[in-house]
């Protein structure tokens, strides 16, 4: 995968990615903040076959989607498949308003010890991602925990954050 960054004096910056299939995708970030995506199907000397202009908001939204924060498809990757086969899964768990976990820190909940699952990231307010949250991180209602573990471990975690205390 080739990523190239070029300064376009007077216009902005251009980032070009050559995909494995031979298509060149260029992202031009203008000094004015405007973003444009250019597609060069044969990567050659002709004009772009397609140009998409994105506002700041649109660019961020698209970026988040591309990053896989909302939906991560199963990746075709040896190691990851092995993980899956060994029974490890990644799950998105949303904390409801009544969740007993709301207002507590990860340490307080003792998630690792009690369930065996690991919280690898927290998605808050539908757009902020807190990767590798510290044990002192306070969980809030509405947060989505991104956790990894075996099926049983994930189930435990779901019970932990969904059931009322003192069951």
């Amino acid at each position: 995968m080739k990523l190239r960054e070029v300064d376009l004096p007077g216009i902005g910056k251009k980032f070009t990615l050559h995909t494995g299939k031979g298509i060149a995708i260029s992202l031009v970030v203008h000094n004015t903040g405007k973003r444009e995506i250019y597609l060069f199907p044969r990567g050659g000397e002709e004009d772009a076959s397609c140009v998409i202009e994105l506002s700041d908001e649109e660019a961020r939204q698209l970026g988040t989607l591309l990053m896989g924060a909302f939906f991560t498809p199963v990746v075709v990757d040896e190691d990851k498949i092995n993980l899956l086969l060994k029974g490890l899964i990644i799950e998105w768990i949303e904390l409801s308003k009544n969740s007993p976990a709301a207002g507590k820190t990860i340490k307080e909940l003792d998630i690792r010890a009690k369930t065996g699952a690991s919280v690898i990231a927290i998605l808050r307010n539908e757009k902020d991602i807190i990767p590798s949250p510290s044990p002192e991180e306070v969980l809030k209602a509405g947060d989505t925990l991104i956790a990894v573990g075996t099926r049983e471990q994930i189930s435990s975690l779901i019970e932990l954050v969904a059931t009322r205390p003192g069951r």
Partner: protein, 388 residues
């Protein structure tokens, strides 16, 4: 006088507004308006027009200087110097030679070479973005050459303005060396100030950033320095360029540009309008045309060829290289500034004016149709089989 000024501004606005859909850079409109309405501009309005025109010139070059940091100058120099030099030699050389064949005196030929040298960054930049070619490969080369030209043309302007000032002075060699020394000194001093006081400047700007007197500081500094440079006999535009360089090192472009942009936009429009007004097509119209046609043909072809060669040298394929050539034909702001600096006695004002007008128009067309022109040219001239 105020009423006249208001009328002029309103006419400029209405015209620019009406044609903005046509993808024509407003520069062309302002010049044409100046040309056609020139007769109606009376003496009284001339004063205020001249003042704003000079302000426009100064701010134009100030903003140009802002684009440059020492780091960028060095990186451009490394990447594009070959193409830049080819462009300089061919374009300046052809302009000079054509003038010579047309029996202009040496000094006039030098000015003609300079006027026909620099392509219009303003026009080309705007078209690149509007035509959605920002991401094309050839754009990188085009921008590089334009940057090179910006520096080279600014230095040329400084030298020639000095020459223009002392055109009747003593032995040419002596005055030229003196002028070069002044320019070198100014350039060196500015770069020194820029690197030494860049952070101080940054602090000052940060501290007064929200205040209403930020504009006094910025515009005041620009005029102060430009005026000083002018008193040394060098073009105030070069001085403004140097101030831009200094401000660029502060890293605080955003507040500076924000505060000066409105004034710059308005003043630059007036600058081009005034240029149009100053084009006086007096008696010898035939003589003008006889000089204009060869100059136009030779220098346009020159740009296409130099652009092509420069791009090929930088590793581009034949079609992209041809597109570079066809895109660089447009002349504009630099040529106008250099034409202004030429002493009246040389008799090239009217010629320059018409030349620039023609080249602006043709240059825009050439750039819009560059893809087609490139393909056509390749089919006709470059018969070598290897498919690029």
């Amino acid at each position: 006088m105020i009423l006249d000024f208001g009328i002029i501004l309103s006419v400029l606005f209405i015209s620019a507004y009406l044609v903005r859909r046509l993808r024509v850079p407003s520069i062309l409109i302002y010049i044409i308006l100046g040309l056609s309405l020139g007769a109606f501009v009376n003496r009284r309005s001339e004063d205020i027009l001249n003042i704003f025109s000079e302000v426009g010139l100064i701010l134009l070059f100030f903003f140009l200087g802002l684009e440059f940091s020492i780091e960028r100058i060095l990186s451009v120099a490394r990447r594009i110097w070959a193409a830049g030099i080819i462009d300089l030699i061919i374009s300046f050389g052809l302009g000079f030679s054509t003038g010579y064949f047309l029996h202009f005196n040496v000094i006039a030929c030098i000015f003609l070479g300079a006027i026909t040298y620099a392509s219009s960054s303003a026009i080309i930049l705007k078209l690149l973005v509007d035509l959605k070619r920002s991401a094309n490969i050839e754009t990188e080369i085009i921008l590089g050459i334009l940057i090179f030209e910006d520096i080279a043309a600014s230095v040329l302007l400084a030298i020639l303005s000095g020459v223009g000032e002392s055109a009747t002075g003593g032995p040419v060699i002596f005055t030229s060396l003196f002028i070069l020394a002044k320019i070198a000194f100014l350039l060196g001093a500015s770069l020194l100030i820029a690197s030494a006081f860049g952070s101080n400047l940054r602090n000052i700007i940060d501290r007064i950033s929200g205040e209403e007197f930020l504009s006094l500081f910025v515009i005041g500094s620009v005029f102060l320095f430009s005026g000083f440079v002018k008193s040394l006999g060098i073009s105030e535009a070069f001085g403004a360029f140097l101030v831009g360089l200094i401000f660029a090192e502060s890293g605080r472009l955003e507040p500076v540009e924000r505060i000066a942009l409105p004034l710059k936009d308005m003043a630059v429009a007036i600058f081009f309008f005034s240029f149009g007004v100053s084009i006086e097509i007096t008696s010898d119209f035939n003589k003008l045309i006889v000089a204009l046609i060869p100059l136009f043909l030779v220098t346009s072809l020159g740009k296409i060829i130099s652009g092509y060669l420069g791009a090929r040298l930088s590793g581009l394929g034949s079609i992209s290289s041809l597109r570079v050539g066809y895109s660089m034909v447009a002349r504009g702001e630099f040529s106008i500034v250099l034409a202004y600096a030429a002493p009246g006695g040389l008799g090239i004002h009217a010629l320059s004016g018409l030349y620039i007008l023609l080249l602006t128009f043709v240059g825009i067309l050439s750039m819009i149709y560059a893809p087609n022109l490139a393909r056509g040219t390749r089919m006709v001239f470059i018969k070598r089989g290897s498919n690029a």
